[in-house]
Symmetry: C2
Subunit: 199 residues, 2 copies
DNA sequence: GTCTATACTCTGATAGAC
DNA sequence: GTCTATCAGAGTATAGAC
């Protein structure tokens, strides 16, 4: 435990985690070997072992980083926005961009949590809950203000909405048929009309 | 290659695939051993090898069954329905029930395709395309009839809608807070109002 | 068709020199 | 901190008796 982060350590950590994330995404956690991670990080297996004692430790550290980034990003994106519906739209757009803009760690966070065992899994699930709670409180507040139809459960709305986005990671391609903007606009077009209370 | 399926073979196949599907769902394809599948099927590893020469062959066969079931189910559910919006609603409900009603093979089909390599992966992706094409043609036809807003791309609508459902497999619990009916109603409430053309 | 027994390969993890 | 070398275990697949 050190109080001031060393740039070198942070750089190494970032390089290792990025390389591992790309591999985990392509081949899965189980399908990736420690030797491959070491090679992709420019290290030898023994050196990698010095940073991470076990393969699972790499995954856990990666997921901690991914969750922290996601929470920070959503809070920053919505910080200065008061108008309720614009708040949701902005948060949805930020979540979509986080997931589809090429950060493999976010993808791994969503799809590889089953590779964690015991305490590690519990810890990451707990961290993910923090993120989801932020959404729930935002949606609850907006529903209380009367912007969302009363017959829609806001918790279920969050599960359905974020689910639609999370699944995009399985089909979205940067050079594919749909742009990020087009996807975001269509999603918002459907959701906003789908949940809006008629005043 | 035999022209008439033997009941015995079908029963064995079903027993092996069901047992394997439950294990693949719980522990993942890589996390499951052939010995575990054999034990759960009431066979010894050598006997299992007689039916499936490689572990991947089990996964491929399972996915073929899962896709065939899904396509059959959706076609049957919508066969007698003419009214366009009811057709979509019925198809959505059928897809949701297929996924959440406890058939582990459907779950494995959605989440373990990355464990397939080369030709096997191409084949399954092709089969899955058949299913998605059925949705696309249904939605296109309904959009042409003017039931869906003109500014919504029906292909993107399918990706978003089925994505919201597919993701449910990650959080739905049979004894959880929300019933299948409640989930289906809320989803339809959002989607129908979200896509409906205003006449 | 089903079983027992095993060959062969790969992997995660470690020991210890430098 | 980084490297070489290696261990111990696990896993798939197979051979061959019955």
């Amino acid at each position: 435990m050190h109080l001031v982060a060393s740039p070198k350590v942070d750089t190494d950590r970032e390089r290792i985690l990025s390389a591992a994330a790309r591999l985990f995404r392509e081949k899965g956690f189980d399908g990736t070997t420690i030797r491959q991670i070491a090679e992709a990080s420019g290290l030898l297996p023994g050196s990698l072992h010095y940073r991470y004692r076990a393969k699972e430790d790499i995954l856990v550290d990666m997921m901690r980083v991914a969750i922290e980034r996601t929470i920070t990003r959503i809070i920053e994106a919505t910080a200065d926005i008061q108008e309720p519906l614009v708040r949701i739209q902005t948060a949805l757009q930020a979540h979509t961009e986080m997931l589809l803009s090429g950060d493999d760690m976010i993808y791994v966070l969503l799809f590889e949590w089953r590779s964690l065992r015991g305490n590690a899994r519990q810890e990451i699930i707990g961290e993910r809950d923090r993120y989801e709670k932020y959404w729930d409180s935002m949606l609850s507040s907006i529903k209380e203000q009367g912007y969302i139809r009363a017959d829609i459960d806001e918790h279920l709305l969050r599960l359905i909405g974020l689910g639609a986005i999370n699944w995009m990671a399985t089909w979205y391609r940067k050079d594919g048929k749909y742009s990020l903007d087009e996807i975001g606009n269509t999603l918002w077009s459907i959701i906003s009309k789908g949940i809006l209370a008629t005043h």
